[in-house]
């Protein structure tokens, strides 16, 4: 007796939407990072679910790649964040609008 595929997809969608909502509304970069992690993990969940449904190990393999890339991305991102904090004394993303046209 296994959980149907739809449940996973719906859960994944909910998590992904929460992630987008967090990224767009939060101003603290740490929370934005966490929201991005949430989105990535939502995708991971759907990958594994589809992999299991299709009986294919590719889903799990891809998930491990995503986790590795996410770890690397976070470390780079935090590094940039510290550099910004050192030069600007501020990490509020709404204040950092240097790309404004």
């Amino acid at each position: 007796m296994s959980i149907p595929l739809n449940y996973y997809i719906v859960l994944s969608m909910i998590l992904f939407s929460l992630g987008i909502a967090g990224v767009t509304t939060r101003r603290n970069p740490i929370l934005i990072f966490m929201s991005i992690e949430l989105m990535l993990n939502a995708v991971n969940l759907s990958l594994i679910a589809f992999g299991r449904y299709l009986g294919d190990a590719g889903g799990q393999m891809l998930t491990i790649f995503v986790m590795a890339v996410a770890a690397a991305e976070v470390s780079v991102g935090l590094g940039i964040l510290i550099a910004i904090f050192r030069t600007k004394d501020n990490v509020d993303v709404d204040v950092l609008n240097g790309l404004k046209g």
Binding site: I20, V23, T24, T25, R26, R27, I32, V93, D94, L96, N97, G98, L99, K100, G101
Partner: protein
């Protein structure tokens, strides 16, 4: 032999390239050395070519033809090819020989100029183009040389670019020459229509077809049109009425340039062109009349202007225009040998006079006004003697060169066209008058040079005296190359394969007598009048004098009928077409781009959240579109 033919233009070209690229780093000695050696080498090559011409059975030397332009499906095929026969061989010797002398002279004259190597690059370039012009085996190649010497002339007239008047004179020379060039181009088109080729020589060449005129027939009207158009081109290059106005202004260039380009070689290209096509001109009595009359009137107008000049170079410039007019008189009277002979002797004595005038100007630290000269005979002795020789030669006093060549022209005019003979004889008298006037004002009488300059005269060095001496000797002896009166006719024999020798005339003695008397009387009057000239005496500001001094106000006439309307049209077009027309259209274009940019730029807020939101929305839209399209396609 055909290889040596290529060397004549190529060596000066190499010299020009070296001086034009790395010349400024070479220093004066090396820079002028390269230029001089390249022209002397070209002169030696030219001697080899000319000796080849005299020893070859057909009296010509031809290079191999290198493919250049051709139009498939038509007879038009234009190769790079050179052809030298007695006519252009003689010119080639003058160009490279006198050119070499003037290069040597320039090495000293231009000493210390900051454009020293640039000057020699231009001068070598000129020799290259001039060689191409006279040696060209077909009309388009001739035209390349024709335009090339115009370019070199433009560059050298405007050599002192920081001088406003020099740049204006350069532009004037270039633009006035273009008018003649258009005529020459149209003549080329018409020649191609008639002869189906633009090659001059060879079995199907234009000149060969003209020789076999029994087999090939050109209507007289067409021949007249082509001849007049060719003469139009010649009149531009050789400064004839009504296009002569550029030559006096061309004196803004350095004096050796005036000697080489605007006296000895380039301006005689028009005479060469007419002589080259003498068969065509002889087919049309009308064209011959036009040539003779234009030449005669130009000669007289320029001689009148020469009488009223105070600038020593302007006297020589108008004198050149006048002598060129006499050469066209010879052409118009069918005496093409006499025309080419006068080209040669004129090259010698006019180059001598210009270089002598240059030496005087150099000695006086750039003074060109004859009212501030005088009494220089005892101070610069060598220059004085050589200019005296040149003056006697051009005044037409026997037995110097100018007498013999001018006498041939006068004789031809006397036999074929009496009214034009009158013009030419009057010109001769005026020539003698203004040349002695120039000589007396410069070298005799009391000194009007200011004290400081007298004590610091620039004495000419060997590099100035040597070319002057050689030209002086040539001015004395060159006349005997063709003096039928004393039984010498080397030059007409030499030209005989191209231009038939003139028949003997019975009036020879009479014309010669008149010429001698006229020259001597005019010289005597001039010497007497200017023996003790003081500033403020004699001819000064009478209206006639001023009218002559401005060359019959041709410049004012052109300013009124050409320059002013054109300037007005340009001003109108600037205001209505440029400012209000084209610029208005451009404004619509740029302001609409500006508007779009301004409205779109608000999207770029710089806030990361906004970007991600737009990304998400776009993603949703794209995915929805793909999914909907996918389901539709599936059905």
């Amino acid at each position: 032999m055909s290889t040596i033919l290529w060397l004549v233009p190529l060596i000066p070209l190499i010299g020009a390239i070296i001086n034009g690229t790395i010349g400024s780093k070479l220093g004066e000695r090396l820079s002028s050395g390269i230029a001089i050696i390249s022209v002397i080498a070209a002169f030696i090559a030219a001697i080899a070519v000319v000796s080849g011409v005299s020893s070859s059975p057909g009296h010509f030397v031809e290079s191999n033809a290198v493919a250049w332009m051709s139009v498939p499906g038509t007879p038009l095929s234009i190769p790079f090819s050179f052809h030298v026969d007695p006519l252009n061989g003689g010119m080639l010797l003058v160009i490279t020989g006198v050119g070499a002398l003037i290069h040597i002279y320039s090495a000293s004259y231009m000493h210390g100029d900051k454009g020293y190597s640039r000057y020699f690059a231009y001068l070598n370039l000129f020799v290259f183009f001039m060689a191409v012009l006279v040696m060209a085996g077909n009309l388009p190649l001739l035209f390349v040389g024709w335009e090339g010497v115009g370019l070199a002339s433009y560059l050298l007239i405007g050599f002192w670019q920081e001088k406003w008047s020099a740049t204006q004179a350069a532009k004037k020379a270039f633009i006035v020459n273009r008018i003649g060039d258009v005529a020459l181009l149209i003549a080329m088109f018409m020649l191609y229509r008639e002869f189906k080729t633009l090659n001059l020589y060879g079995e199907t060449g234009i000149l060969t077809q003209l020789t076999a005129s029994s087999a090939f027939h050109v209507e007289t009207g067409v021949a007249t049109a082509i001849a007049l158009l060719l003469f139009g081109g010649a009149a531009g290059k050789s400064a004839q009425l009504p296009l002569f106005v550029w030559l006096p202004d061309a004196m803004e260039g350095p004096t050796p340039v005036s000697a080489l380009i605007h006296a000895a070689t380039m301006v005689t290209a028009g005479i060469y062109l007419v002589c080259r096509f003498h068969l065509l001109f002889e087919m049309s009595p009308l064209a011959m009349q036009v040539v003779a009359w234009t030449g005669g009137l130009t000669a007289l107008v320029a001689a009148c202007a020469g009488v009223a000049q105070w600038d020593i170079k302007k006297v020589l410039a108008y004198s050149t225009v006048s002598q060129l007019g006499l050469m066209f008189v010879a052409c118009g009277c069918g005496a093409f040998t006499a025309a080419m002979f006068h080209v040669t002797t004129h090259a010698f004595f006019k180059a001598l006079l210009f270089l002598g005038a240059g030496a005087v100007i150099h000695a006086l630290h750039g003074e060109q006004d004859m009212r501030k000269m005088g009494g220089l005979a005892s101070k610069i002795k060598s220059t004085h003697l050589l200019v005296l020789i040149g003056t006697i030669a051009i005044a037409g006093i026997p037995p110097l060169a100018g007498f013999w060549s001018k006498d041939e022209i006068l004789l031809a005019a006397f036999d074929h066209n009496r009214p034009v003979y009158g013009l030419a004889a009057a010109t001769s008298a005026l020539t003698a008058f203004y040349m002695w006037r120039m000589y007396m004002l410069t070298f005799q009488g009391s000194s009007r040079v200011d004290e400081h300059t007298v004590h610091h005269l620039h004495h000419p060095d060997t590099r100035i005296v040597l070319p002057l001496t050689i030209l002086g000797i040539l001015s004395v002896v060159a006349g005997f190359l063709n003096a039928p009166a004393v039984g010498l006719h080397f030059y007409s024999d030499w030209l005989a394969p191209v231009i038939p020798s003139p028949e003997h005339s019975h009036n020879s003695g009479l014309v010669m007598g008149i010429s001698v008397v006229v020259a001597l009387v005019a010289s005597a009057i001039s010497v007497a009048k200017y023996k003790s000239y003081k500033v403020g005496t004699g001819d000064k500001t009478s209206p006639v004098f001023a009218f002559f001094a401005s060359a019959l106000r041709f410049d004012d006439l052109y300013a009124a009928i050409v320059v002013k309307p054109l300037t007005a049209a340009a001003a109108w077009s600037n205001l209505s077409v440029e400012r209000n027309g084209a610029r208005g259209l451009l404004r619509i274009g740029h302001s609409s781009v500006d508007f779009v940019g301004k409205s779109v730029r608000r999207w770029q807020s710089g806030i990361v959240g906004d970007y991600i939101l737009s990304m998400a929305i776009c993603l949703i839209v794209i995915v929805s579109v793909v999914l909907i399209a996918g389901t539709r396609g599936g059905n």
